[in-house]
C-alpha cells in the first residue's frame, strides 16, 4: 500500500445477480488529488464512486480510507466524514438553504453557533450572500444556485474526501463552466481529496489532475490529463478524447504565459493586433487568431504589454509533462 494514499481500491468488484458492474478495479487516490472517473453511461464509474461511501456495498476486494478498510466503520459515521454531491442536487425541498447546509454538522452534533458560523462561511465561499440565500427554499433557486448549495452542503462537515456524482451534468453550458471554475478555485483554497464522476471528457480534462477512464466495469487507463492526451491507451480512449479534436483539447490545457515571447515593448503598429491575456489557453489564442485573421497576438496583462505569441509558437508548443492542478 502506498503511504500517502487517501483512498485505495484493491481488486474491487461489484456483482449484481450475474452481471458484473465493476470488475476488479485497482485505484489509488492521493491526499489532495482531484480524481475524475470518466466513461460512457453504464461503465461502472458511478457504482465505483458510491462504493467508497458504502451507498453500494462491494462484492469483492478491499476499499481503504486512510489505510482503514471501510467495512470496519459504521456506514453512517463513514458517510458523515465524506462529502457527497449529486447531479440533481438532492437538496431537501422542505428545508431552507441554511438548514440544508447544516445537515451534516447537525448529524455530527456540532454546537449551534459553530453550525451557524460554518453555514455563513460556506455561503461566502460559494458566492451566495447569506442575507439573500440562507432562508430561501430549494424551489426558489436557479439550477446553478441549487448546485452551489449542494456543493456547500457536501463541504459542511469539513470532510477530507468529497465525492461528486456528475454534479454539473444537468446545468446549461455557461453555468457549468462557471461552476467548474469555482470548484477549481475552491479546491485551491481547501485541498480536499475529490473523486468526481462525469461522462464529459472536456470537464474531466479541465478539472482533474488524475483521470481514470472506465469502460465495462474496468479501468482502461489512468493518467494525468496531458499523458492521456499524448498517449491514449487504445481507440476507446482516443474516441472519448474526441479523435481529431485532441489537438484543440490539448491546446485548451496550455496557458499562453508559458509559450509567449516575453520582454517585448509596445510599438505603434501593435495597436492593430488583437490581444489576449497570459492565463488564457492556447486554444483561445488560436480561436482569436482565426477570428481576426492574424498570425500574431499581443499578450496584455492589466493594460500593459507582457509579450507576444505567434501561430508558429502555438503549433510548436510542447505540452509540459507534469503540470496542472
Amino acid at each position: 500500500m502506498k503511504p500517502n494514499a487517501m483512498i485505495e481500491l484493491n481488486k474491487v468488484s461489484k456483482h449484481y445477480d450475474g452481471t458484473i458492474a465493476v470488475d476488479s478495479v485497482d485505484l489509488s487516490i492521493k491526499q489532495g488529488d482531484f480524481c475524475v472517473l470518466v466513461g460512457t453511461s453504464g461503465c461502472g464509474k458511478s457504482t465505483t464512486l458510491r462504493m467508497i461511501n458504502r451507498l453500494i456495498s462491494h462484492t469483492k476486494g478491499q476499499i481503504m480510507i486512510e489505510g482503514q478498510e471501510i467495512m470496519s466503520f459504521d456506514p453512517q459515521s463513514l458517510r458523515r466524514r465524506i462529502g457527497y454531491a449529486i447531479q440533481n442536487t438532492g437538496l431537501f425541498p422542505h428545508w431552507d438553504v441554511a438548514r440544508n447546509i447544516g445537515t451534516v454538522p447537525k448529524l455530527l452534533g456540532w454546537p449551534k453557533h459553530k453550525i451557524q458560523a460554518r453555514i455563513e462561511e460556506l455561503l461566502e465561499l460559494l458566492n451566495l450572500p447569506y442575507s439573500s440565500f440562507a432562508h430561501k427554499y430549494p424551489s426558489e433557486l436557479s439550477g446553478g444556485q441549487a448546485q452551489r448549495v449542494g456543493v456547500a452542503r457536501a463541504l459542511a462537515g469539513d470532510p477530507d474526501i468529497l465525492l461528486m456524482d456528475e454534479p454539473f451534468g444537468a446545468l446549461d453550458p455557461i453555468t457549468r463552466e462557471s461552476l467548474q471554475q469555482e470548484l477549481l478555485r475552491i479546491q485551491q483554497q481547501i485541498h480536499k481529496t475529490i473523486v468526481f464522476v462525469t461522462h464529459d471528457m472536456d470537464e474531466a480534462l479541465k478539472l482533474a489532475n488524475h483521470i481514470v477512464v472506465m469502460d465495462q466495469g474496468r479501468i482502461v487507463q489512468q493518467a494525468t490529463p496531458y499523458e492521456l492526451l499524448l498517449n491514449p491507451a487504445n481507440s476507446f480512449v482516443s474516441q472519448l478524447l474526441g479523435g481529431e479534436d485532441r489537438g484543440l483539447k490539448q491546446a485548451g490545457l496550455m496557458h499562453v504565459a508559458d509559450f509567449m515571447k516575453t520582454n517585448r515593448t509596445m510599438t505603434p503598429s501593435d495597436h492593430q493586433l488583437a490581444q489576449i491575456k497570459p492565463d488564457d489557453s492556447l486554444r483561445l489564442a488560436l480561436s482569436v487568431m482565426l477570428w481576426h485573421q492574424q498570425e500574431q497576438l499581443i499578450v496584455m496583462d492589466d493594460n500593459h504589454c507582457v509579450g507576444e505569441i505567434s501561430l508558429q509558437q502555438i503549433i510548436q508548443a510542447k505540452p509540459y509533462a507534469d503540470h496542472h492542478g
Partner: protein, 396 residues
C-alpha cells in the same frame, strides 16, 4: 383609451342573485309544521326599505363589475368583498324583521320557512366570496375571520331570540337535547373511525413497505370494499355481528350487535382504508429518489431518513388522504343512522319520513358544516407542510 371592461364572473353571479330575489320567494310563512306556507318575495316580506339593505349592495357590486377606468382592481375587489359581507350580515337581520312583522308571540306553531330565493342568494354570494378570495389572494386566516364574523351575526340574532320563529330553529328547540346528543355521537363515530383507520393504515403501509408481496393482496381487497354500496355493507354486517354478539356476553356488555355503533364503525373504517392506505403508500414511495440518496449519502440513519426526509415530504399527500377520508366518513355516518348507529342522519331520515324538510335540514346543515370545518382544518395543516406549493403560489 376609454375601454369598458367587464368582470364576467362577478357580473353573472350578481345578476343571478338579483334576478332570484325579484322572481323567487325569499321566505314563506307557515302556520305550522305540516301545512305549506305562503311565499313572500323579499319586498313583500320586509318592505322596500329593508329589502334595499340587500339589494343595494348587490346593485353596487353589479356596477363594480364594470371597470370604467384603470382604477386599481384590488380596490374594486375589496369594495365588492365589503358589499358581500354586508349581504351576509343583513340576511339574518331581514329574517328577524320578517318574523317581528308577520308572526305574533301567540302563534306558537307559526314559522318562517326559508324560500328558494334565500338559498339561491346564499349559494351565489358564497360563490362570489370564493371568487373574490382567489382574486384578492386572501389568506386562510382572513377567511377564518370572515366565517367567524358571519357566524357571529347569525348567533347574535339567534341568542337574542329574534330567529326563534325560523322553521329550522323551531325544529331545533323542540329537539335540542336529541340534537346535541346526535351531534356528539356523529362526531365521536367520525373521530373514532378516522383515528382507527390512521392506525390500521399505518400498520398496513409498514407491512407493504417491508414486504412488497402484500401490495398485490391489499390494494385489490381495499378496492373491492370501496365498490360495495355503503347501505349494502351496513346490511351485510348485521348477520355476522348479530351472531357473534348472541354468542358472547363480553360483546353484549360493550353493546356490540348486528345494529348499532359496531357495524357502523367497521364499515366506516373499511371505507376509510383505501384512500388513506393508497395516499400514504404512494406518497412515501414517490419521494424523489435523489433526495433520499443524498440523505443517505450525508450519513443519516434509516430512521433519520424516514423521519426527517421521507415522512415530512410525503406529509401533504398523506394528510390529503386523511382529509378525503374524514369528509367521506362524515357523510357516511349519516347513512349509518339507518342501522341504528345514531348521529345526525337520524334527523335526515326522520324528516324524510315525515316530509318535514326543516328537520332534514336540521340534520344536513350541521353535517355540511362539519365537513367544511374538517376541510378547512386539513387544508391549513397541509399548507404547513408544503413549502414548494407555498413558493409557487406566491410567484403566481
Amino acid at each position: 383609451m376609454f375601454r369598458l371592461g367587464i368582470d364576467k364572473v362577478m357580473f353573472v353571479l350578481t345578476t343571478a342573485s338579483l334576478l332570484s330575489l325579484i322572481l323567487l320567494d325569499f321566505v314563506s310563512l307557515q302556520p305550522n309544521r305540516i301545512l305549506p306556507g305562503t311565499g313572500h318575495s323579499i319586498v313583500s316580506s320586509v318592505g322596500w326599505g329593508y329589502a334595499l339593505l340587500i339589494i343595494l349592495p348587490l346593485l353596487f357590486n353589479l356596477f363594480l363589475s364594470f371597470s370604467f377606468r384603470k382604477a386599481s382592481s384590488i380596490q374594486r375587489y375589496s369594495f365588492q368583498l365589503l358589499m358581500l359581507i354586508l349581504v351576509f350580515l343583513f340576511m339574518p337581520m331581514l329574517l328577524a324583521i320578517f318574523a317581528t312583522q308577520h308572526i305574533s308571540e301567540t302563534q306558537i306553531h307559526a314559522r318562517t320557512g326559508l324560500g328558494s330565493a334565500f338559498w339561491v342568494l346564499l349559494f351565489l354570494t358564497s360563490l362570489s366570496l370564493i371568487e373574490l378570495k382567489q382574486k384578492l389572494n386572501l389568506s386562510r386566516l382572513k377567511i377564518c375571520f370572515l366565517i367567524i364574523l358571519i357566524t357571529f351575526s347569525w348567533l347574535f340574532f339567534y341568542i337574542t331570540a329574534q330567529l326563534d320563529t325560523l322553521a329550522i330553529v323551531r325544529e331545533y328547540t323542540a329537539r335540542s337535547v336529541q340534537f346535541q346528543q346526535a351531534f356528539r355521537v356523529h362526531l365521536y363515530l367520525v373521530c373514532a373511525a378516522v383515528m382507527s383507520s390512521i392506525v390500521l393504515s399505518t400498520l398496513l403501509v409498514m407491512l407493504m413497505r417491508r414486504h412488497h408481496v402484500f401490495e398485490k393482496a391489499i390494494f385489490p381487497l381495499l378496492n373491492f370494499i370501496q365498490t360495495i354500496p355503503s347501505l349494502a355493507l351496513f346490511g351485510l354486517l348485521i348477520a355476522p355481528l348479530g351472531y357473534l354478539a348472541a354468542n358472547s356476553e363480553w360483546l353484549q356488555s360493550i353493546n356490540v350487535g348486528g345494529i348499532g355503533w359496531a357495524p357502523a364503525m367497521i364499515a366506516l373504517i373499511a371505507y376509510s382504508l383505501l384512500p388513506m392506505v393508497r395516499n400514504t403508500y404512494v406518497a412515501l414511495n414517490e419521494v424523489d429518489a435523489s433526495v433520499i440518496d443524498a440523505a443517505k449519502g450525508m450519513g443519516m440513519s434509516p430512521l433519520e431518513v424516514f423521519l426527517q426526509v421521507r415522512l415530512p415530504l410525503a406529509m401533504p399527500i398523506i394528510l390529503e388522504g386523511i382529509r378525503i377520508t374524514t369528509i367521506q366518513a362524515i357523510g357516511l355516518t349519516a347513512v349509518a343512522a339507518l342501522i341504528g348507529a345514531g348521529g345526525l342522519g337520524n334527523f335526515i331520515f326522520q324528516g324524510l319520513g315525515q316530509a318535514a324538510m326543516d328537520m332534514v335540514l336540521l340534520g344536513a346543515l350541521p353535517i355540511l358544516f362539519m365537513a367544511l370545518m374538517a376541510d378547512l382544518f386539513f387544508s391549513t395543516l397541509m399548507s404547513l407542510f408544503s413549502h414548494q406549493d407555498k413558493t409557487s403560489r406566491e410567484s403566481q
